[in-house]
Symmetry: C2
Subunit: 84 residues, 2 copies
């Protein structure tokens, strides 16, 4: 079961970390035209529900990973609103 836990942990790190380069790119280039606002909003809503799900399950990794992604998605929405 240890290997399965490791795979899940790496998976969680990768899918959370995925939005860091996107936020950095949007922040530095000030260009967000090609990014879908719907993607950002659906993603933010989804990870917020994942965090609530983790709260009910008392799962700190689920809460942690998803509140991090939520913060990144909300900042991406802010940048998208700012730069269009």
């Amino acid at each position: 079961m240890d290997h399965v836990f490791t795979i899940g942990t790496i998976a969680a790190c990768l899918t959370t970390a995925a939005f860091v380069p996107q936020v950095i790119k949007a922040h530095t280039s000030k260009e967000t035209k090609d990014i879908s606002l719907a993607m950002c909003v659906l993603l933010a809503s989804g990870v917020m529900l994942w965090a609530i799900y983790g709260f009910f399950l008392h799962s700190l990794p689920i809460i942690g990973a998803n509140t991090t992604t939520l913060a990144l998605a909300l900042y991406l929405i802010y940048l998208k609103k700012k730069y269009g």
Copy 2:
């Protein structure tokens, strides 16, 4: 526990569905300049591991949601490579 299951299911649907409008936008506009390739690659790697995790856990929802996102992320990488 039923409400928690419902929250998790809606969360899974939202985070999977999030990439549909992004793929549609990139496909129709043929513009992917502002999309981070690193995001696509990290996302694809992450959801592939999530699918493997789901396979070990015999969880069809985890496998289904993540292979769907994997297909969307791979197509986004293809579009990004094509349009730059």
